[in-house]
Symmetry: C2
């Protein structure tokens, strides 16, 4: 079997590695030049994009910002999973919000703005603490702004004055006092089989994921059920096929959807070590209509898992592998600031042991690049 | 980091896949033509054997029958692990027996024979039920004969008359009434760190491994300790580096070494799904002098594991992946009778559940190729 992945980064690479074991050949498309490459070596393969599409049993994506012309070509093959609509939902916050509202799925109160004058109405309706997001990424640098007080509104309007809001509207959200960020990864196969991994708890720093812990601490049954309901509603509502990642805010006992990613996701990397089936294998199984694999924490020495991103550095000491249950995943890229270079999965029998392992891990890392690690290690070490 | 593996079959492929995750690039040598190839695609890589040896941080083998000239070249680089002596022990039963006797490690009573007349002495000393093995494989077809009664000795001598026993002596062993075959896989790193996996219980059919179960049922603490002692004596005695497989016969409470394999081994494949660290990753860690990973049964949903070889067929139904905790490993080879095409790893929370899963698995396989499966499923299902 053959699967073609749009995008040739670490997610395609990890799909390749899990696929190769199963006898599934994964090829990647470098969307910068439309060439088909080997997902590990990145060397061009001896076939055109058209030939690779023809050859593939299924096409999938490792990121949502694939050029639309490529997506349309892929969709026309009848083998793109998830389909173009789902991928565009992940790339466009307006579509995303419309989907969530349409399926009646709890999310942050919001308003879509295509004229700066509407911002006053936002303040009146949503309050003076707002997050303003360009509906599509890459539009103007980072594309997110914050309003902290109504008195700052004139200055913000000046800052946003040059945006073409007709082309790329803003999504304006109420700034929530959420308790934590969690994420939900699951898969739905072509036959409609659905599996959902345990909730992961995510720590971000400057907009990037640094640490995930799965299952999230204090995952009550009610919370897990709520998450599964959201996931099932979403994938069935979208007739979604593949792995879907759902980022959520937890406010008290309630989960609100923050963002969708129509693909395998960084906050699901723990599943490589901590679950009988990784998200990468389940994505391949889903798009090829194979039965899905168990999406649970394995238990025993892998009852709880942490994933630590290695960002913008490569000076970790390999002696870290001496911590039992520790696995390094390295993406083979050149170091750049803020670049995800690899990740470390750690499994343990309980949170306290996991905390101790993370604490030991800190001894092998340059901590300025791991701003969340020690605090999280201490928090877990004190857990039960 | 780079590792060069002599041999380009499934064992090199599985080392590649585990290495790639860690950022270790594994290349393979096709020993039939001395070319360096990609371990998955088998395509020639753009470097000579000499260049690959130069480039590599370590050299290792996936089988013991590498031509001696190649091994000598590898040894001369100072980077071959395990070393040539250990590899030759695996390829030559005379050396193997001498090593075992020298280290005082229990093994089957034997005599080395380089003249057929000595067979009478063997019968006198070891009894009339004997297994006669060519000391090196590939010498004369299968290279194993059995004597069941002293009266058959003249006929056997006639059968063996054409062998050049000076060049390739025979190892004549007493035929034991052993209770079962188990194997012991472990690793020793360049720094001397040692890990040992739980004993696996192996079912053979017509000389080929069909099913392994780990841990072996009824593994008492005394048995495990005995196995660990044997392993530690062996690897320290040989100054061994890498994964070593030890095949053993269990007779009552006693373990006798049957055979050594200086490499990752089919009976350790269960570790891919059932242990925090696979034998393939631990072999790479060992030869690169990285800390070794946990070599235990993971516990929880992976408390016990089975490995089922797919031999001489490719008509398994992929619906078998619907059995929770089931993983297929496919080697991408053309079907030939007796050829190992792939394997299936199954994990479960206990033996009874494992037995039920194997029983379900049987429904997706053409059972003439899996002669041990149903009986083993029934035995495990009745276990606790």
């Amino acid at each position: 079997m053959q699967v073609l992945v749009y995008g040739a980064g670490q997610l395609a690479q990890m799909m390749y590695l899990d696929g190769a074991a199963l006898g599934i050949n994964v090829m990647a498309v470098d969307v910068n030049n439309n060439t088909v490459v080997h997902p590990v070596s990145k060397s061009p393969l001896d076939c055109t994009l058209e030939q690779a599409i023809e050859l593939a049993d299924a096409l999938t994506v490792e990121f949502e910002h694939v050029p639309e012309t490529l997506l349309e070509q892929a969709q026309a093959s009848g083998k793109l999973y998830p389909g173009i609509e789902a991928i565009l939902v992940g790339a466009d916050r307006v579509r995303e919000k419309q989907l969530l509202s349409g399926l009646d799925i709890p999310n942050c109160p919001y308003q879509i703005v295509d004229d700066l004058a509407q911002l006053d109405e936002c303040v009146a309706r949503l309050g003076e603490r707002l997050i303003i997001k360009a509906s599509r990424d890459g539009y103007d640098g980072y594309g997110q702004w914050r309003l902290k007080a109504a008195s700052d509104l004139p200055a913000l309007k000046t800052q946003l004055a040059n945006l073409d809001l007709q082309a790329v509207p803003l999504v304006v959200e109420k700034m929530l006092n959420f308790d934590r960020e969690v994420s939900l990864i699951g898969a739905r196969s072509k036959s409609g089989e659905v599996v959902v991994y345990p909730l992961a708890e995510n720590l971000h720093h400057e907009g990037q994921l640094h640490v995930s812990v799965a299952p999230a601490t204090n995952s009550t049954e009610a919370l897990t059920e709520q998450a599964c309901d959201i996931f099932t509603k979403l994938v069935n509502g979208m007739d979604y096929v593949g792995v879907l990642a759902v980022e959520l805010f937890q406010c008290g006992d309630e989960l609100l959807v923050n963002e969708l990613a129509p693909r395998v996701h960084n906050s699901g990397h723990w599943s490589q070590a901590g679950s009988p089936t990784s998200q990468f294998e389940n994505n391949l199984r889903a798009v090829l209509d194979l039965p899905l694999g168990l999406a649970v924490n394995t238990g025993g020495e892998a009852s709880v898992s942490a994933m630590i991103n290695i960002i913008g550095c490569d000076d970790h000491k390999l002696a870290l592998l001496g911590i039992g249950g520790t696995h390094l995943h390295w993406y083979g890229k050149t170091v750049r600031p803020k670049r995800k270079m690899g990740h470390i999965n750690v499994t343990a029998s309980d949170y306290a042991a996991l905390g101790e392992k993370l604490s030991a891990l800190a001894g092998y890392l340059s901590l300025e690049h791991f701003p969340q690690l020690q605090e999280e290690a201490a928090r877990l070490a004190a857990s039960n």
